[in-house]
Symmetry: C2
Subunit: 492 residues, 2 copies
């Protein structure tokens, strides 16, 4: 099925998927819970139903109320889809507590709608308000499109807005799409641990954990809970590498942590990362192929399964973004070496805050320039300076400029989306590098992986929130995660 997707032009895909969701869908076709009486149905089922005359019961929240002389019109949404169901009733059924945001239970008959916009409407014969909603106190107002900044102030209520409701459905589908991609390609999912005793990668940005109430730190009476200092993971890579001693491909998808003191639109203290590791490869191209396929397959899957929700973003949040995204999907991703990239930057007319220089990290401004320079197509930058990369990156043993087989994927508007490398599998090279950095004792276990049936391997990580920002055109990372955590903020 996913292979079929890859062969179809995106536009056609949208059409055929939207049809398949909407047509031929009997109300009683789907199995949902809390529907002991077969008349209780979800609004997504009703909207695609053609069982006119059928008695049903719906439950949901009021999105609009309009009471004319003799007729009451309601729009009700239950979160099963972005769309609301139009309910028509005798004006006598109107109650004052039937306000925007109130929860209702409605019974009635499905009827063919006289309006072009909808196939079906519900002729109500009973309306019950099961949870009222005072419109004065409720922070969201009827018919207003609140900004992402505004709704972000209400972490416990924002899922009730159209915009954030759509985000949560998209995020859920995106998780499924990513996991399906890996499953379909024979990857085993590994739950790498959140708590780890590894502390190598930039100790300044780690969170450390201890049982609550031990604010004075460990003592002789009360040593560390785990006997050693323990931290929140910054990457599952080393744990995945363990698995490439027994599996051809593995991946992990879960929360990752940085104690970065940043309020930026690009960083969170807790974010989700997809990481994959592939055994039996000597080629960086094997890794970039998986990265590109993951991006394209998952995105096409999301575009087809959540077309209406994504459309809301591409219409109201980031107008014109669908074209930018299609441009990324229909072109083969580009490749440039780090050395070439630095050349491009040095010869550009742009005034960078950081001067580009061989041997220095690329800054976000450089990354964005490079992507633009390459036609706003995602760009792989490969073979970074050896000294910029951690101990596990594979030595290219090249001259005069010494590089490692590492790669970053840069995307329009965001900059770095993925980072990866081949891993150093040669025991002697690895040992000497760990010795130089004083890490040899800590990584004895890692060296042992190279002693027993070691295989060449490599992998990458992709920031899940940045991926969502990239496909939806959302500017602030806090708007693509249900409960954002960042310095000075851990609400709920």
């Amino acid at each position: 099925f996913s292979n079929l997707f890859q062969m179809l032009p995106i536009k056609f895909l949208h059409l055929c998927i939207r049809r398949s969701c909407v047509s031929n869908h009997l109300v009683s076709n789907c199995k949902f819970y809390c529907q002991k009486s077969s008349s209780k149905v979800r609004i997504c089922q009703v909207l695609s139903s053609q069982e006119f005359g059928k008695n049903v019961q719906i439950q949901g929240w009021v999105r609009s109320v309009r009471s004319q002389k003799e007729i009451l019109f309601l729009h009700v949404n239950d979160g099963s889809t972005l769309q609301s169901l139009q309910v028509v009733a005798n004006a006598e059924l109107y109650k004052r507590c039937l306000t925007f945001g109130s929860a209702v239970k409605i019974s009635g008959t499905l009827e063919k709608s006289p309006h072009k916009k909808q196939l079906v409407e519900l002729q109500a014969d009973s309306i019950q308000v099961i949870g009222d909603c005072n419109p004065v106190d409720y922070p969201f107002k009827i018919k207003e499109r609140h900004s992402l900044e505004y709704i972000r102030q209400f972490p416990h209520l924002r899922c009730r807005t159209k915009t954030f409701g759509s985000l949560l459905r998209i995020r859920s589908e995106a998780s499924t799409a990513i996991q399906s991609f890996f499953k379909d390609n024979g990857f085993v999912q590994i739950h790498t641990p959140v708590i780890t005793s590894n502390d190598c990668e930039g100790a300044g940005e780690l969170f450390q954990i201890e049982p609550a109430g031990r604010e004075q730190g460990p003592s002789e009476d009360e040593p560390h809970f785990f006997s050693v200092p323990a931290f929140l993971t910054v990457s599952g890579q080393l744990h995945l590498e363990v698995m490439t001693g027994a599996f051809p491909c593995v991946y992990t998808f879960g929360p990752t942590f940085r104690a970065e003191n940043s309020q930026s639109r690009r960083h969170l203290a807790e974010f989700y990362m997809v990481e994959a590791e592939i055994a039996f490869t000597h080629s960086l191209e094997d890794i970039t192929t998986v990265m590109e396929d993951l991006f394209k397959t998952a995105t096409e899957c999301i575009l087809s399964r959540c077309s209406e929700d994504v459309e809301l973003y591409h219409k109201y949040v980031a107008p014109g973004h669908m074209d930018r995204l299609n441009h990324m999907l229909k072109n083969k991703f580009k490749v440039i070496s780090y050395t070439e990239a630095v050349d491009v930057l040095k010869h550009s007319q742009q005034n960078f805050a950081f001067r580009p220089e061989w041997g220095c990290d690329l800054q976000t401004e450089h990354e964005k320039y490079l992507v633009q320079h390459c036609g706003n197509i995602p760009l792989f930058v490969i073979n970074y300076p050896y000294n910029l990369k951690p101990f596990y990156a594979r030595n290219n043993e090249d001259k005069p400029q010494h590089t490692a087989a590492a790669v970053d994927l840069l995307v329009p508007g965001i900059g770095e989306l993925c980072g990866g490398s081949l891993r150093e599998e040669r025991l002697e090279l690895l040992k000497s590098r760990l010795e130089k950095t004083g890490l040899k004792d800590t990584y004895q276990w890692y060296l042992e992986l190279r002693q027993f049936g070691s295989v060449p391997h490599g992998g990458f990580g992709m920031g899940f929130e940045r991926y969502l920002q990239c496909i939806l055109g959302v500017d602030n990372i806090k708007d693509v995660i249900p409960f954002p955590r960042f310095s000075h903020s851990c609400v709920l």
Copy 2:
């Protein structure tokens, strides 16, 4: 497809799924990575192939070596399946470094096997050792079946044993099965946060976090990173409850934490939990239906997709467990009230370490007795004493024995597998209970959920490792998670 499963007897299912995995499978049918040359294939593909005469290249680890006069026999496994591929070669291709555990790359021709046990074998024309393995230093020995306790000592290598390799494939399929169950039933997946400022549920068992290097705790110069104390989550329930204000059903699946100072076979400091929350229900039966369906659907799916891996456990680790599991699957789960359960315990002949008493928590010994008493079928215990349950459990307002609408699911051999409840949606009842416990200010946001379009709802959590223990018959929880964390142990 999953509905079809439910209608078929388990035994038949096994047969038809095993066939579907094995038959009609062309080597070139599947898309796998690192196979630029179309001749590179996975062993799971080769084993089900009938393309005799085809040239292929496999990569994997040696499971056995036997060199006869003129012929060399190897068994090679690559982790894509439990089974190994038999490789036959001219004895001249033998090398000393071709040892148990070494990594090899082998090219040759697929041939029909003369042995009954296998369909196909590989006639090798080239064997390359890409990573050797010194059999003296390697902790696992050829032809030995090491105990779970023994292999647990080597967290970085244990995935290379048959037993733990199978566990990891099963665990991966189990995650998929659980997520598919929820997706198929219209649940939206919510990534509830790991870091939280909630500290209500048993403060003694929480982990607290701060940036590393702040061992003296927060000070005036350096306040808390999040401005407030922050902890690792013990449950995503309250965050899921936020979502029942906008979605009909939601779930979360991820790591959960307890700073319990325990070395028991039942507890971990970091474990996985599946939690679901269902809107628009007043009935505990709606919740127990989902629990039972989840258990049965996921288990049947795992049994069919990982039949060989599960068989290894039911043959060598827990002989006879398949019968016990089938007994659970083919019977409707039983229901007993807490009050009846205490009666049963009081009238039993068994000497309990803890005397059963109305108003006290059930101990593991009680739970195991009750399950046995009810015929070793999973058992729902419902309506627990009100005072035993947290503030959010719904008040049954009954007399003389005051109970809450809470439920535990007890399973043979394990005891508690799931816990759930209806949640108190009535603002005044909730407010007064929070006031009594001094938590009203902390949970102002939670009260607000009941003020704006509140709906009756409920949910449950299931321990994922306990679930795996239950279906596989594994005694120690440390043997069903890739990297176990518990007090005094955080290796790797």
